[in-house]
Symmetry: C2
Subunit: 617 residues, 2 copies
Amino acid sequence: MQTVRGRSCLQNLKLREVVSVYFTMLAVVLVILIASFQGVVLKADGFPYKVPLDPQGALELSWNISYPEEVVHFQLSVKELKYGVMLGMSDRGEFRNADFVILWSDGHNSYFGDAWSDQHGRLQLDAQQDYQLLEAHRTPEGLNLIFKRAFSTCDPKDYLIEDGTVHLIYGLLEQPVHSLGAINISSIPKGLQRVQLLKPEISIPELPDDVVTFEVLAPNVTIPNQETTYWCYITELPDNFPKHHIVMYEPVITKGNEAIVHHIEVFQCAPEYDTIPHYNGPCDSKMKPERLNYCRHVLAAWAMGAKAFYYPEEAGLAFGGSGSSKYLRLEVHYHNPLELKGRIDSSGIRLYYTPSLRKYDAGIMELGLVYTPVMAIPPHEKDFILTGYCTDKCTQTALPHGGIHIFASQLHTHLTGRKVATILVRNGAEVEIVNMDNHFSAHFQEIRMLKKVVKVLPGESLITSCTYNTEDRSKATVGGFGILDEMCVNYIHYYPQSDLELCKSAVDLGYLQKYFNFMNRFNNEEICMCPQASVTEQYNSVPWNSFSRDVLQSLYDFAPISMHCNKSTALRFPGEWEKQPLPKITKKLPSPVPHCDTTECSPAKAPIIVNIDKKKN
Amino acid sequence: MQTVRGRSCLQNLKLREVVSVYFTMLAVVLVILIASFQGVVLKADGFPYKVPLDPQGALELSWNISYPEEVVHFQLSVKELKYGVMLGMSDRGEFRNADFVILWSDGHNSYFGDAWSDQHGRLQLDAQQDYQLLEAHRTPEGLNLIFKRAFSTCDPKDYLIEDGTVHLIYGLLEQPVHSLGAINISSIPKGLQRVQLLKPEISIPELPDDVVTFEVLAPNVTIPNQETTYWCYITELPDNFPKHHIVMYEPVITKGNEAIVHHIEVFQCAPEYDTIPHYNGPCDSKMKPERLNYCRHVLAAWAMGAKAFYYPEEAGLAFGGSGSSKYLRLEVHYHNPLELKGRIDSSGIRLYYTPSLRKYDAGIMELGLVYTPVMAIPPHEKDFILTGYCTDKCTQTALPHGGIHIFASQLHTHLTGRKVATILVRNGAEVEIVNMDNHFSAHFQEIRMLKKVVKVLPGESLITSCTYNTEDRSKATVGGFGILDEMCVNYIHYYPQSDLELCKSAVDLGYLQKYFNFMNRFNNEEICMCPQASVTEQYNSVPWNSFSRDVLQSLYDFAPISMHCNKSTALRFPGEWEKQPLPKITKKLPSPVPHCDTTECSPAKAPIIVNIDKKKN
């Protein structure tokens, strides 16, 4: 192997001198920079995280994270490289306004550089080169590139790598590239892969000696040759299976299907039903027994790019025992955009459980908005925010004296959701982000371990906000169960388990009626406000404009709420829960300031030439 | 004279090395930096602008501006320097969160540096030193400091020098200073002076040969020994004075009173009155004849720091002739905080006029909000915006075919006004800022020449927004003439004069009533909405909270307006002016991005030692 070009400060100064020359040449003429770089020792402790980028598995990205340095090291493996490859990040996977690292060849030389695409998708070299190439070599399988980038580069053309979902995009260059501006993104092979890049750095608890595994796997399913399939399969635990604690689970992915198995969930069925019919088929089939809809208690969830999920050593998820169903439902999402035929799959999840119960049962609690049409998003909105409250009064009433510890979280909306965040509030002051995803996608809903366990005491509030985009809709989107309705939910995983299963809110219906009445009068009584009209009908009759939108938003931000402070029996805790005041926020969390160390040596200003050795050493 | 220390790039590197040492020493121990600076040739072409900072005239600031370099050169003259002087800038003249340049002495050495005060008024050295000392020398009168600073330093601790009002603050150090943190701002002599720092760079038109002057001066007034006096004096033009054009005017300030004469205006009386009684006394005196209230047509206005006002060479302000009054009212604002006794003053304004009429009469037009209580600001607001419109329909109806040219502007609000801006809109797109002041003060209302003449064509709109702060008020502040009511006005000076004297708006009263009704119902009919209640009474009965505030703001941003598209006769132009739609803005002006040249040599990171020679050479 050869050829990594490390850069020292002094060498950067050299580079900088060259820049002025560089930029005065025509854009198509790439400068040949023959500098004597020193080899660099790769500090990467391997690449623990890995994800296929394309459905064929021709591109694979693995990475590691250094939190102290705020840097990600990437390893991009490419089979059958032609004239280059580009890897990018953008807000939601668009190829416009995206940030790219590109390896390209003009037929003579290969170049490596940081680039960006404008609003028309035209590529340009970045004035500040923030990807640093560490290694480029051929392998028996193809090409391996190792490079690194800081979370935040402070270059406005660069993507800020944040917690939560990152939309990775890639493209393959199949023609010689004489200038980046000449690459026509619309005509090259390309794709999108969502991933949580900044995995939490948590210590893995030791598994007990008596741990047993149970695999819930698809039974040699032939993956349908269609883009999207949700496969449902019912399996069951032994009769009289006593209570255990699940302490870990991990994905089991059939070799070769890594790029197709998109996500997997295991649900337990409702204990109310003694039997659940066996089933093995698509979840949306008309043949699917109705009763499968009562298998919704999440035991495990995995999505592409995720690794094993460990419970904290004090807690485990109750599994088996009286009062729980022996029936489990496996759901596998196959994403098969190439519509490959005849692929056989036995992917699933391997549960690790122990009969030696841990100190605490873990619980799952729903935060956010009640599933009701009283909360709605006007049409044509770019970023409309709905907020659900778990009030101080409910946590005071329902949480154990010592509070609870949240260690994981699964955010959930339907199709128009764009961002989700839950914030902990103490005495009117925002104190901590429980979980946040600024690039949330309904197509990528993992259970994520929190970087730091969050303790919530009785009397504190949890505020969950969801941002929606309804630009392509012409009617109001109301809350509800339908795929075209919306939800705003954070399923928090916590211990010790409490009776509080659901802590959610919705605006008071009486105040919403005052809003409808005002809109009616404002529009000279032209709206049908028949008293028998449903809330959804009333929303549909509002003439949507900046005023009706703004006043609705103001109403949601001010009017009293109906609190659902519910036990697992779906009954409310005793108390008055109607017309409750909104939690008052007197102190916001400071906005995060990206760390930009401007005193350090500036990054390079031009791409570098890459020598790729034909043989791996 | 000695001793200016220019800094070259290399010297900065030296400085930078010293910094690390510097910051490791105790804050009270100032490093002694003995570097061999080279003398620098001051590029200042003199200092055309000058303003006294304090009422005694002990501190005087003069300056010049380089627009190509975006730099201001300052000359600060100090009489009787003790242990130092500080000059600062802040949003509204506060000593907290302010940006300072400080010359201080510990008794042995003198230092010059860039500093800032935190929210508690504590001083700290700036990590980045953005004031550059060019000269420091003794003069027969005291000390002269010459230094420069960029408009924008991109240091978040530094004030951004913008167009419009700048609040200058100063303080005198009368004890040795061992550390900036030890300076107790609350106990040093200090003060505030408002000034327009970024004067427009416009070429001065040549005056005609037959120009004549007419001085409107205070007749040896004894300035009252009280902080604030508005002095009124009636003078008159000769009988049968024919029409002339005023082409220029300039201030005439009695020597010694430069720090007391705050602003001066000359008004012409209404032609409806054949005689106006003579008067010479305070404007608020009960002895002042009632008729003086009809002398409101502005001929000239000057405020401290302003220079001569020139009309563009194509236009002049009509002066004399049939249909105009021969009576003029002079108003001088004396600001005498030291309550000096027995000062005699003959300040005023010298008008330059010509019988050779220029091509165009200049006109003055009022933009903004109608003086009506239907536009109101809720109490306890930090920055509430009201907007007045001059619609495309009005300009289409009333402006001459070739449009008008705006060359000057006087912004006007009452006490709670904080910002004022007028923006020109063409086909729904904001195209140009006519005038803007982000640090507007009701105490400093100059007529300002525009940097660039703005042409307005029939069919374009002019949108004037005012930002108010009512944090110290407990009731709504309504529009109106009273000093505790508010206004939002831009008096634009333009040519050729048109019949359109006033182009202003207010929200439609019917829609405002719908708002009051909604607030009433929302609060369970608890508000008195007696039909005979005045708008002001209804505003006073609204329970102010985030909801009533937000909905009012949304109403103002959406509801139709009543347009006042008025002739000088105070009658409207023919047409329908009620329930007009708001101009739709589809494209905003981009936010200005401060220019920060980070590729240049970084500024110093520590203060420098100053050698002040005792003798001027």
